[in-house]
């Protein structure tokens, strides 16, 4: 085995490695990219049924209904709302009026079936995706200063917001 031949082998192996890694990445990307959508995005263009995506916004005040282990609530970005159902343990800081990101699929009846509601660790924390969605829906302009507290983001009147 001379040096030239060995180098050829190694180059060939590298090409195979890079090729297979690229092919794997691209095919996996095709099926597994999870897009982030705000309620307004869904109102504009419904996502394909059965495709998982992330829904983000604020938990509408007064919308949380608990029935055993299943929870129903609505997510708003100020302009539109989407109903969500979720079975499981909600993250520690799930509150009405707080930012929330949920992953799941759109059901045939237009409710979002969440498989996972993402945990947040800090009460004052606003998920950046949610902040961006609120900005796009025209409810907050970052050039006018910091985001207002999450609890004031609401489509309902502040009077109903007592329980949280």
């Amino acid at each position: 085995m001379n040096r030239k031949k060995r180098r050829l082998y190694i180059l060939l192996l590298c090409a195979i490695g890079i090729g297979s890694a690229t092919a794997l990445t691209l095919t996996a990307f095709q099926d597994n990219l999870v897009f982030f959508l705000a309620p307004s995005d869904i109102a504009r263009e419904a996502p394909p049924p059965g495709r998982a995506f992330r829904l983000g916004g604020l938990v509408e005040a007064g919308s949380v209904e608990r029935g055993g282990a299943t929870v129903r609530f609505r997510v708003t970005d100020g302009a539109h709302t989407i109903s969500v159902t979720f079975s499981g343990v909600l993250p520690d800081l799930f509150r009405e009026g707080q930012g929330v990101v949920a992953q799941g699929v759109m059901g045939p009846d237009g409710t979002f079936a969440a498989r996972e509601v993402l945990a947040r660790h800090d009460e004052t924390y606003m998920p950046p995706e949610v902040a961006a969605a609120l900005r796009r829906s025209g409810h907050w302009n970052p050039s006018q200063g910091a985001a207002p507290p999450a609890a004031t983001w609401n489509t309902l009147s502040p009077a109903t917001r007592t329980g949280s």
Binding site: M1, N2, R3, R6, Y9, I10, L13, C14, G17, I18, S20, A21, L24, T25, T27, A28, F29, D31, N32, L33, V34, F35, F36, R54, R66, G68, A69, S87, G88, V89, L90, D92, L93, F94, Q103, A119, H121, D122, E123, Y125, P127, P128, E129, A132
Partner: protein, 667 residues
């Protein structure tokens, strides 16, 4: 203030002492990065000789700074802004101390301390290195240290004062008030920073334009040590996620987790290619490249985690100037090193010819697959960031992507992990090796069939079990073969096994550890989950137990209040276990954490999480996680393998040299 009594004021200046020590360390780092380098270029022994004392002095300065910061935390000195932001007097002492590195500024001081320890170790234990190489390595470490010290001093000074001091601090993020997380960052940093030493060796070799077997022998212990620490650090982080986050999983392919996995993958590749340099003087340029890459990925991990670009429990601060500073540092070190590589690497002539089917060939395959996995994980981690930056579109790349994209690359690697170590160097034939592995293959097949027969039609976990047993069997076959099992008497075999080089044992143990981890991962593939909402006194049956909720009560801790549920597990009417999952509320940070309750018998974990309570109904999430502890047990075994290999006589370069000196002294 109350402490300002005469005679009691000496310690008030301790934060200033720490600050000055950091500035002194930066000044020493400037000297350390320039003088030895000039000395090595000119062949000036005096300038080169300045490297070890400078490294030691740097260590002392950084240690003083770190000690001052720990002191400020331990005494809860509320005149220090960093303490106010991250600590509280009601916190238990151990978390006051671990809180020192549980925040951005403190963690960077810890990083620099570990770096200074490494530089001092190169100075202290590296007496047998050629003095020019040692001087250059220490100089490169000095430049890295300088960059990070500048970062601390200009953007993240931990000793900043506040006046007037607030009555008490804001408290540490409750999720971080945990023993596992007290040791997770130091271990991880020992790993990251360990790769800075291999990086320094690579840069020094590029400046010298020479890589030989001896270079491989000096680099390998550092790669081994860094890899072992990183393995432990990642394992403890994953364990923490398992018991503290309460989501029932152990690895979420979170960008922050990936940030630590990337240098681990590159470091694993480096570890293996350094063997080829040491034994066969081949793959030299490639090994140098891997050494640069492993550290580049460590820095990238630091950037991703510390810049606040990713949101997680790790991003302590999202101050953009810090992110830009780290990005610039990253750019300077990585671009500089790769430019040097492009300039000097072609000068290094390859030697050591080998056939494609040989130990070297197997290690090339290992490197190729590991680097492909690294590339896939890197793309998956960074793609959402780039897409957001370029198009503003927000996506996330979750576990399904990583699982489908890495598994096809991991399978041939696992297959090769048992075959490769049994192949001879230079030229091998596959068939005799496979013959010696037939019973490991039988074991794997049996595991596959038995899992399908007893656990139901779960093909992937069954395949995982097969892979795990293949690795463990392969490691045993390797040792048995080296000891000559079946070729000589048993007593002879045992004797030979005992006298095998530690590095052979280390490799076998580490590979078997990987197998144990795979068994745990496969077991978790069979995990089940059960959701129940119960009133006090009610029960639900799951996994062969009657889970009875006795009640939920209030508990008060040192700095939190909690709701704690008492679950009694009954089997055939007898009490089998009592579990107490709880939810803690920390008034200082206004945060809540979930405290899972785990009962393990090492074969399976019973795992209970208390959810919300609503009108007397408590939501409980119950899991049965088969073989979960094996994931971390396997990781500890892997790290043990690394330590065993590190203790090999041949790795300790100093030993033969010391013996030679002794012999000369006697003669």
């Amino acid at each position: 203030m109350e402490h300002a009594e005469p005679g009691d004021t000496d310690w008030l200046v301790i934060p200033e002492l720490g600050h000055f020590a950091l500035i002194l360390a930066a000044a020493l780092a400037i000297a350390q990065s320039i003088l030895p380098l000039i000395g090595a270029q000119r062949g000036d022994a005096r300038l080169m000789g300045s490297a070890p004392p400078l490294a030691l002095a740097g260590l002392i300065a950084v240690a003083v700074a770190f000690g001052a910061l720990v002191w400020s935390y331990a005494t809860n000195d509320t005149t220090v802004a960093n303490v106010v932001a991250n600590s509280h007097s009601a916190k238990p002492m151990i978390y006051k101390i671990s809180g020192t590195w549980g925040n951005h500024e403190g963690s960077m001081v810890l990083w620099v301390l570990v770096l200074a320890i490494c530089a001092a170790a190169v100075a202290g234990f590296g007496r047998d290195l050629p003095s020019a190489l040692q001087a250059r390595v220490i100089a490169v470490l000095g430049t890295i240290s300088l960059g990070f010290l500048a970062f601390i001093l200009f953007t993240s000074n931990p000793f900043e004062r506040v006046w007037p001091p607030p009555p008490d601090g804001n408290g540490l993020n409750p999720l971080l008030q945990d023993l596992g997380l007290a040791v997770h960052p130091p271990l991880l940093y020992a790993g990251y920073v360990g790769f800075s030493v291999t990086f320094a060796f690579a840069v020094a070799a590029l400046i010298e334009g020479r890589v030989d077997a001896a270079w491989g022998r000096w680099v390998r212990p550092w790669a081994l040590g860094a890899w072992s620490f990183l393995t432990l650090g990642i394992a403890i982080g994953s364990w923490w996620a398992y018991y503290e986050l309460g989501w029932g999983g152990y690895w979420f392919w979170d960008p922050v987790e990936n940030a630590s996995l990337l240098p681990w993958l590159a470091g694993t590749a480096l570890l293996h290619s350094a063997i080829v340099v040491e034994k066969r003087e081949a793959l030299k340029i490639w090994t140098v490249l891997l050494a640069l890459l492993a550290f580049a990925l460590s820095l990238l991990g630091t950037f991703l985690v510390r810049s606040g670009i990713l949101n997680s429990v790790h991003s302590f601060a999202s101050d953009p100037s810090r992110g830009v500073f780290i990005l610039v540092l990253l750019g300077i070190y990585i671009a500089g090193a790769f430019l040097l590589f492009a300039w000097r690497a072609p000068a290094m002539a390859p030697t050591g010819v080998f056939a494609p089917v040989s130990r070297e060939g197997a290690l090339v395959l290992n490197n190729l697959l590991l680097c492909s996995i690294t590339a896939v994980v890197l793309v998956g981690t960074l793609y959402p960031l780039f897409l957001d930056l370029l198009t503003g579109q927000m996506i996330s790349v979750g576990p399904p992507f990583f699982n489908t994209a890495t598994a096809p690359l991991a399978v041939p690697m696992i297959a090769g992990m048992a075959i490769g170590p049994m192949m001879p160097w230079k030229r091998a034939t596959l068939w005799p090796v496979l013959q010696r592995l037939w019973w490991a293959a039988c074991l794997a097949l049996a595991a596959f069939v038995l899992t399908l027969a007893f656990a139901g039609w779960h093909v992937l976990p069954a395949f995982g079990f097969a892979c795990g047993f293949w690795l463990i069997g392969g490691a045993a076959a390797d040792i048995a073969d080296r000891a000559g099992l079946g070729r000589t008497r048993l007593a002879n075999v045992l004797n030979r096994a005992r006298n095998l080089p530690r590095s052979a044992w280390g490799a076998a143990v580490a590979h078997a550890g990987m197998g144990v981890t795979l068994l745990g991962v496969a077991g978790m593939g069979l995990a089940t989950e059960h959701l129940a909402s119960l009133r006090a006194g009610e029960s639900t049956s799951y996994a062969g137990y009657e889970w009875r909720l006795d009640g939920v009560r209030d508990v008060t801790g040192p700095n939190f209040t909690a709701r704690r549920a008492t679950l009694t597990l009954l089997r055939d009417g007898h009490v089998a276990h009592v579990m107490e999952p709880s939810r803690r509320f920390f008034p200082q940070g206004r945060t809540t954490t979930t405290e899972t309750s785990i009962r393990t018998n090492l074969v399976r974990d019973l795992y209970a999480v208390l959810g919300e309570e609503h009108e007397g109904l408590a939501v409980l999430r119950l899991h049965v996680n088969p073989l979960a502890p094996w994931i971390w047990l396997g990781s500890f075994i892997m790290a043990l393998g690394g330590a065993l290999s590190l203790s090999d006589r041949r790795v300790r370069v100093a030993a033969p040299a010391a013996r030679r000196r002794e012999a000369e002294a006697r003669a």
